[in-house]
C-alpha cells in the first residue's frame, strides 16, 4: 500500500489549516447555554440575543442571528449558510441577520479553502436549525400546556395545531433558549420538496451594503488613534536589510513629515510557518504619508546566494528536464514501460505553466489594536483560527489574549490563507500599545510578495495497442511542493497535491504509472484557486485532444474510450488508496457517469462539431476536482494572430446546490480567472526578483476580453461538493484545444500570449 497523506492531514501537520486546539467533535457536542458557555460569542452579536446553539441566536423582537464561521470572499457563504439554517429553523428570511464568527476553536475548522465549506457544514447547519426549531416548539408546548406534537414551527412562529393559535419566535426566545437542546435522534428534517430556501436563488445578504459602498473590508474600519503602516520587503527570498548601508536613507525618511517611526523587520526566528519577509516598516499619520515614505527608502539588501540568481525561465526548463530523471511513483498498475516499448503508436507531450499570482482586488490590509494585554486583529483571512495560532507562535503572546475578527475579504483565491501580512502588522503594532495600527499592502507588494501558484511541468506519454486502444499511460509531474516553502528543502509534490488531477485521472488503462519529481523552491508558493489541478487538468485535457487527433477520433469519443464503462473509480486494484479530498468513497464516490454527463452536455450545447472551420473552433475538456464534475467548451476565433474567445459553455455537477445563483456566479468568475491565467498570466523572476509589479504588466481579464458564458448546473440530490474552485482548471485545455480546432498551433507552454495576441 502506498502511503497516502491526505490533504487535510497535511494541512494539520503544517498548521496551515487548523491547530491542535480544534475540537474534533460533531456539532451537537458544542451545544451549551450562554450562562455556562464555552460558545464564543462574536463581538457584533447583541447582548440581548438568546443563544440556542453555536450558530443560532434569537432576539425577542424576532431577529434571528445566524453565525457564519467561514470567511466570505465572494463565494456567498454568508448567504448560503444562513439559507441552510433558516430552512430547518422555519425562519422568515426577512428576520435573518448574519453575524461573522471570530476565530475560535469551538467552531471546528474555519479554514475556508478546498471548496469545502458547504460540503463540511451542510448537514451540521441543518442540525443547528432543526435543534433551535425543536426548542422553540417545546417552549410553545410548555406555554400552552400541551404535547409538543401539537406544536409546529412555520414561517417564524409556532402554530398550535388544534386551534391554530400562534406564538412568534421572538415571544418564545427567552423560554426556549433555557431548554436543553435535543439529541440528534430527536431532530426532524425537511424533505427536498418542502424547501423554501435551499436550492433557491436568494440575493446575497451583503448586496445592499456593497452597492451602497457601505460593506466593510479590513481597511474600512475606523478606529480612534490610528497609525498607518507600509512595508518595503526584501525583493529576494531570504534577503535581509543591510543596516549600515541603509542607515542614511532610514534617517532621511525618519525626518519626513507625518512619519512616526521607521521600523526594521529582521528575518523572523519564530515557529510560525508564515514568517513575514524581512524589510523596513514605515509608520505614519496617514496611509499616503506611509506610502510616500516607503517609496523614499533606499534600502541596501544583504543577498543570499541561494535565491539571488534565480531565473524562472531557466527554472521551468529545469522542471521539464527533471521529468527525465528518476521520480517517485505514486500509483502503478501493470508494466507501463514494457507496454510503451511494445507499442507501435505512442505519443508524448510536455506542458508547462509559469508562476501565477492570485491578485485579489483588495490588496492585503490589517488592523491591529494592542492594549498591553489583548491583541485584537481585524483581518480578511481565510482561516481566523489558524491566524490566531500563527500569531501566538510568531509573537509568543498568550493564545487566549489574541482575538481575530474577520471583515469581508475583497477576494482572496487562496492568497489570504497565508496570514504572513497579519503577523507582520501585529509585530509592528506591539511597539504602539494603545494605538490602532493599520497596515496597507500596495498592489506592487501583492504582485511581488505573494504565495505564488508555482511554475510546473507535466509530461504525459501514452501507447496505443493494435486495436487502437490506449493500453499504456505514463503521467509525470514536477513542481516544488507547497511544503518546500515551509521546509526550505527540496521536496516531492505531496500525494494530496498529485491527487489534484493527476493521480486521480478517470481512465481505464491496462498499464498506468503516475510519478512525481522533486524541486527546490526559490520563492514562496501557496494556494491558488484549484491549486495543482491547474497544471494537471491542462496537461490531461490537452493530451486527450492530442491523442484524439493522432488517432483520427473526435475529442468526445476519445474521452469516452479512455473513461471506459460506467463505474465508481477507486484504484484499489492498483494498491492505491484515494485520498478523495479527505472524504470517504462511500459518502462521495468518484462516479465516472457524472463526468461523462457533463462532457456530453457541453458537447451538445456548444454544437462544437459544427464550429470547426478555418479561423474558428471549439475545444472541449472535462475534469473532476473537489468532488465536483465539470465540462467546459470554449469557442474561439483566430484572425491574423489575434485570438478572440467568443463563448464558454460550462456544465457543473456539484451535488445538492444551496444557492444556484451563487454557483453560477462562482462558475462565471472561475472561467474569467482561468482565462486570465491561460491567456496572459505570467509572473517571472530574474535574479531572484519578480519582474512584474502591477496590473499593467500582470494583466488580468477585462470586459472587452470576456466571452459570453453559459453555465448549466446538473440537477442532483447527492451530497453537496465544491463550487468555488472546480471550474477553474478545466478552461485551459478547452481553450488551447479550441485554438487547434481553429487551425492554430498546439500550445503546450502557457500563457497563450507568447504566441497569439489576446
Amino acid at each position: 500500500m502506498i502511503k497516502n497523506l491526505s490533504r487535510r492531514r497535511f494541512l494539520q501537520l503544517t498548521g496551515i489549516s487548523t491547530t491542535g486546539l480544534v475540537l474534533g467533535a460533531s456539532g451537537l457536542a458544542y451545544w451549551r447555554h450562554r450562562k455556562n458557555s464555552f460558545i464564543p460569542l462574536p463581538a457584533e452579536l447583541p447582548e440581548s440575543a438568546q443563544t440556542f446553539n453555536l450558530f443560532v441566536h434569537i432576539e425577542t423582537d424576532d431577529t434571528v442571528h445566524i453565525v457564519v464561521h467561514r470567511s466570505e470572499m465572494g463565494q456567498g457563504i454568508r448567504t448560503g449558510f444562513a439559507q441552510v439554517v433558516a430552512e430547518e429553523l422555519q425562519a422568515d428570511w426577512q428576520h435573518i441577520v448574519v453575524v461573522q464568527a471570530d476565530g475560535a476553536s469551538s467552531y471546528g475548522s474555519q479554514s475556508t479553502d478546498s471548496s469545502r465549506s458547504m460540503r463540511d457544514n451542510y448537514q451540521r447547519l441543518r442540525e443547528m436549525g432543526a435543534s433551535a426549531r425543536h426548542m422553540l416548539e417545546h417552549a410553545a408546548a410548555k406555554y400552552w400546556g400541551i404535547s409538543p406534537d401539537l406544536c409546529q414551527a412555520q414561517n417564524h412562529q409556532v402554530v398550535r395545531q388544534d386551534n391554530l393559535a400562534t406564538l412568534r419566535f421572538g415571544e418564545l426566545a427567552l423560554t426556549a433558549a433555557t431548554l436543553s437542546p435535543p439529541s440528534l435522534p430527536e431532530l426532524t428534517f425537511k424533505n427536498k420538496d418542502q424547501f423554501k430556501y435551499i436550492g433557491k436563488k436568494i440575493p446575497s445578504v451583503d448586496l445592499n451594503d456593497i452597492v451602497l459602498g457601505q460593506a466593510k473590508y479590513s481597511a474600512d474600519l475606523q478606529f480612534p488613534n490610528t497609525l498607518y503602516a507600509c512595508i518595503q520587503r526584501s525583493p529576494v527570498l531570504g534577503d535581509e536589510v543591510d543596516h549600515a548601508g541603509s542607515a542614511e536613507s532610514i534617517a532621511d525618511v525618519n525626518g519626513l513629515s507625518g512619519v512616526r517611526k521607521v521600523h526594521p523587520i529582521g528575518i523572523p526566528t519564530s515557529k510560525s510557518q508564515f514568517k513575514p519577509l524581512a524589510g523596513i516598516a514605515v509608520v505614519a499619520d496617514s496611509t499616503w504619508q506611509a506610502l510616500k515614505a516607503k517609496r523614499a527608502l533606499n534600502i541596501q539588501w544583504k543577498n543570499k546566494e541561494e535565491h539571488s540568481k534565480f531565473n524562472s525561465d531557466d527554472y521551468i526548463q529545469e522542471l521539464k528536464n527533471n521529468l527525465n530523471k528518476s521520480g517517485k511513483i505514486l500509483r502503478q498498475k501493470g508494466d507501463t514501460q514494457a507496454a510503451l516499448n511494445r507499442s507501435n503508436n505512442k505519443h508524448s507531450a510536455a506542458y508547462t505553466l509559469p508562476y501565477l499570482a492570485q491578485a485579489p482586488m483588495e490588496p492585503m490590509a490589517v488592523v491591529v489594536l494592542y492594549d498591553k494585554k489583548n491583541i485584537n486583529v481585524w483581518a480578511g483571512v481565510q482561516d481566523p483560527q489558524n491566524t490566531k495560532w500563527q500569531l501566538h507562535l510568531h509573537l509568543g503572546h498568550d493564545y487566549d489574549d489574541i482575538h481575530v475578527h474577520v471583515p469581508l475579504l475583497g477576494g482572496s483565491f487562496g492568497r489570504k490563507a497565508s496570514p504572513d501580512f497579519v503577523l507582520e502588522a501585529a509585530e509592528i503594532a506591539m511597539h504602539f500599545p494603545g494605538n490602532t495600527l493599520q497596515l496597507q499592502w500596495s498592489r506592487e507588494d501583492d504582485i511581488q510578495h505573494s504565495y505564488y501558484h508555482s511554475a510546473s511541468a507535466v509530461q504525459l506519454e501514452a501507447g496505443f495497442n493494435d486495436n487502437r486502444e490506449i493500453n499504456a499511460w505514463h503521467a509525470k509531474s514536477c513542481f516544488p511542493s507547497i511544503a518546500a516553502t515551509f521546509s526550505g528543502k527540496e521536496e516531492y509534490p505531496a500525494s494530496w497535491e498529485m491527487e489534484l488531477g493527476l493521480v486521480n485521472t478517470p481512465f481505464v488503462i491496462e498499464h498506468e504509472t503516475v510519478e512525481c519529481f522533486s524541486a527546490v523552491a526559490h520563492t514562496r508558493s501557496g494556494l491558488m484557486r484549484s491549486v495543482s489541478n491547474i497544471q494537471h487538468a491542462f496537461a490531461v485535457g490537452s493530451f486527450v485532444d492530442e491523442l484524439a487527433i493522432a488517432s483520427g477520433r473526435d475529442n468526445v469519443a476519445m474521452w469516452l474510450a479512455m473513461i471506459g464503462r460506467d463505474r465508481y473509480i477507486d484504484y484499489s486494484d492498483h494498491g492505491y488508496e484515494l485520498g478523495n479530498y479527505s472524504e470517504s468513497l462511500t459518502d462521495f464516490p468518484f462516479d465516472n457517469r457524472r463526468l461523462k454527463h457533463v462532457l456530453h452536455w457541453v458537447a451538445e450545447h456548444s454544437s462544437y462539431k459544427a464550429t470547426a472551420s478555418s479561423g474558428s473552433g471549439c475545444g472541449l475538456s472535462c475534469h473532476y476536482s473537489f468532488l465536483t464534475y465539470v465540462g467546459i467548451a470554449v469557442k474561439v476565433r483566430l484572425e491574423q494572430n489575434q485570438l478572440k474567445v467568443d463563448e464558454v459553455h460550462c456544465a457543473i455537477d456539484c451535488g445538492t446546490v444551496v444557492n444556484p445563483d451563487r454557483v453560477i456566479a462562482q462558475s462565471e468568475g472561475a472561467i474569467v480567472m482561468a482565462l486570465s491565467a491561460v491567456l496572459m498570466g505570467n509572473i517571472s523572476f530574474k535574479d531572484g526578483q519578480v519582474e512584474q509589479s502591477n496590473f499593467h504588466d500582470y494583466p488580468v481579464l477585462r470586459m472587452h476580453q470576456t466571452p459570453k458564458i453559459r453555465v448549466h448546473i446538473v440537477n442532483s440530490d447527492t451530497k453537496p461538493t465544491g463550487a468555488g474552485e472546480p471550474v477553474m482548471p478545466v478552461v485551459a485545455a478547452s481553450l488551447t484545444n479550441a485554438i487547434v480546432a481553429a487551425g492554430g498551433e498546439r500550445i503546450r507552454d502557457l500563457p497563450v500570449n507568447k504566441i497569439y495576441r489576446v
Binding site: 465572494g74 445592499n208 499616503w288 485579489p360 482586488m361 498592489r443 502591477n694 481579464l701 477585462r702 472587452h704
Partner: protein
Amino acid sequence: MIKFTVNQKTVEADDDIADMPLLWFLRENQNLKGTKFGCGIGQCGACTVHMNGNAIRSCSVPLATLANADITTIEGLASKVGADATTSYQVGSSKQTETLHPVQQAWVEGDVPQCGYCQPGQIMAAAAFLKQNPAPSDQDISEGITNICRCGSYVRIRQAIKNAAKNMS
C-alpha cells in the same frame, strides 16, 4: 487651501497635502470608505468617483487639481438622483430602506457582486458611462468599461448596464 465639494458638501484641504491623491483624502480625511484602493496607478478603477460628472480614478488625481471641482462618491450616488430616483428597495437582511440609483438597482437585480470590493468603482464607472452612452451596444460597453473585477463578474456587469440603460430611458 484647496476648496471643492464632496457629495455636495464643501470641503477644504491644506496646501501641504496638495500632492495627496483624492482617494486617500476621501478615505482617511473624510471617512468615506466606499471608494477603494486597488492598484494606485489608475489601472483597475476600484477608486472611481465622479469629478464634475465624469468618472475619474481618484488614486491618481492629486488634491491640487481639484479646486472648485464637484466630487461624487458611491456614498453620494443614491441620494443624488433626487427626482430620478427609482422606488425604494430593500435587500436581504438589511433593515434600512434605500433609494438607489438605477445603476445600483440594476446591480441588485442582477446580484452582480461577488466579493464586492471593486463594485463601488464599477457602479460609479457605469453611472458616468451611461450619461455619455444612454443606449450602449455590447461594443460600447467593451470599450467604455475598463475597470477590473478579479472575481470575474463582467458578464453580469454588462447585463446590469444594459438593464439600467433601459430603466433610465
